[in-house]
Amino acid sequence: MNDTISRFSRAAYIAMVAFALIVAALVAAPWWGSVATERLIGEFMVYLALATLWNLLAGYAGLVSVGQQAFVGFGAYVVFSLALLAGWNPLFAVPVAGLTCALLAIPVARLVFRLQGAYFAIGTWVVAEVFRLVFAQVSALGGGSGKSMPAGVVKLIAESKFWREATIYWLALALGVGALAIAYGLLRSRLGLALTAIRDSETASVSLGIRIERVKLAVYVLVAGFTGMIGALFALQKIRISPDAAFSVNDWTAIVIFIVVIGGIGALEGPIVGAIVYFLLREFLADLGSIYLLILGALGIVMMLAAPKGVWGFVAGRYGLSLFPTGYRVQSGR
């Protein structure tokens, strides 16, 4: 009769400590790693963040978007516009990119939310295509072939190469860890409870008084804003932009979906596991070129057929593990 309800398990405490140690080590990377290491971890953080955000949309809010490249690209172009046309320090443009994308997401949502389920997915894609085609028409930003950031603007980030690379790297780290933190905080909040309820059953959530449309809109806008900042980061990492790269459905959506599906949809740990698997696969198979992408596609399908909850779902289901606990569990007091 003395059952207790708890959120944290011993595994979760250990995970927290390990996570903090890893983050601390990563912050120091500019001093122990090479530029190549920084860039690799930076890219990992980009995908970790994108996958975590897409998981919030698709895994929890039921909003399966295949058009998140709309906000990646828009964020990147905001940075380029402010840097090239207004002479801003590109770093200061990053939060502006996030804010712009969040605001932009409101009218976009008003349109695409009229489509249900899979049609919503393709609708978001059309929006991304519209952005791509429009930016391809703007000759001040390089039109269809794109443009590079002039050296003078790049120097605004930091004078020396070491600090420039380190600054961009820390930004990537901040966004990667930040995305995880936001997703974690969100899911433990009131809104997160509503989201989890929507994930489990939309009908039941409505009958319990959850205003689904508002919750979905809130998540969509939040994710769009954060995705815009990742786009801004991408612009800083590449210091070159073109509509095809900025609004690429393969780079910003196909790979992200693969990561979430492999790792485990609808769980916070999923995108972390998926991103690690993806980067390992890439290290070993990228030389195969298009065959490598073929393998990724096949792996995604097999995963969906055999283990729809991904690697993490399989592990968690088997061992009852939860590293980032967002729900509660009952422990029997014997």
Partner: protein, 288 residues
């Protein structure tokens, strides 16, 4: 007159878009599946025709004799092997599986046929035209495409509303569980629907390949055009897809008149405007 011509040519291209859309609409109607790989399947059918023509020397359109049944059989198997396993209340698994299929098809075609674009040639049919009025020439091939689209949709319409198979489709669409209780094998019904969809895909692929160059990566663009035609016309309405295709073709034609870079963009904007003003399309289906 230039504008008039743009509209007429847009209407004719609309026939091709309706062919892209009809299969998509049928599949969604019967099993609520939106196949992201639909466009890539169209392109794959075009490559199949190219291979068959190179191997047998058949004329472009005659290749349909082989392409159509092969595509239909492939659709039947695809449904049994993959899609039937993921269809259910959750829309996510079928969507993600079709997304994976799309990646596989694009890269598979790339590996087999390189990134170079190909085209099917249909001789005089391709280039011939007659003058409707001064300034407006109508090509035989675009006209044939449009007539084929009408015939295909008429065929689907008759099949859907006047045959035993169509009755089974409608019953499954209304309530798959009850249909199962009434003795329909829904798995086979779905596979048959996918086979019919793929037959239309084969038509679309061959006509696309005669009209323009094709390469492994043009599938997603065709999917989007088909999808836009479906939504503009109204979900679940087969004749609506034809009207939607024509509306899209005309919007693109007018956009191209303004600036070549605006062609595809104008189509997308027309679609978004429709979504804003009439989200259920021009001719919404009778019941939700």
């Amino acid at each position: 007159m230039e504008w008039m011509n743009a509209i007429v040519q847009g209407v004719l291209v609309g026939g091709l878009y309706a062919l892209f859309a009809a299969g998509l609409s049928l599949i969604f109607g019967v099993m609520r599946l939106v196949n992201i790989a639909h466009g890539d399947l169209i392109v794959a059918a075009a490559y199949l025709a190219w291979v068959i023509i190179n191997a047998t020397g058949l004329p472009a359109l005659a290749s349909l004799v082989l392409v159509l049944p092969i595509a239909a059989a492939a659709g039947y198997l695809l449904q049994l092997a993959i899609f039937n396993r993921v269809l259910g209340k959750d829309i996510l698994p079928p969507l993600l599986v079709s997304f994976g299929l799309s990646v596989i098809l694009q890269n598979g075609l790339l590996v087999m046929f390189t990134v170079d674009s190909h085209k099917l040639h249909a001789g005089a049919l391709e280039t011939g035209s007659f003058e409707l009025m001064p300034g407006i020439d109508i090509g035989y091939f675009p006209l044939l495409t449009f007539a084929t689209a009408i015939a295909a949709i008429l065929g689907l319409q008759v099949m859907f509303y006047h045959t035993a198979l169509g009755r089974a489709f409608r019953a499954t669409s209304d309530d798959a569980e009850i249909a199962l209780l009434m003795g329909l094998d829904t798995r086979k019904i779905y596979a048959t629907a996918m086979a019919i969809c793929m037959a239309v895909v084969a038509l679309a692929g061959v006509f696309l390949a005669i009209r323009s160059n094709f390469d492994p990566f043009m599938g997603p663009g065709r999917l989007i055009f088909g999808f836009e035609a479906v939504i503009i016309g109204g979900l679940g309405n087969l004749w609506g897809t034809l009207v939607g295709g024509v509306a899209l073709g005309v919007a693109q034609g007018l956009g191209a008149e303004i600036d070549p870079g605006w062609q595809v963009l104008a189509g997308h904007l027309a679609f978004l405007a429709m979504l804003a003003l009439r989200p259920r399309g021009l001719f919404p289906r009778m019941a939700g």
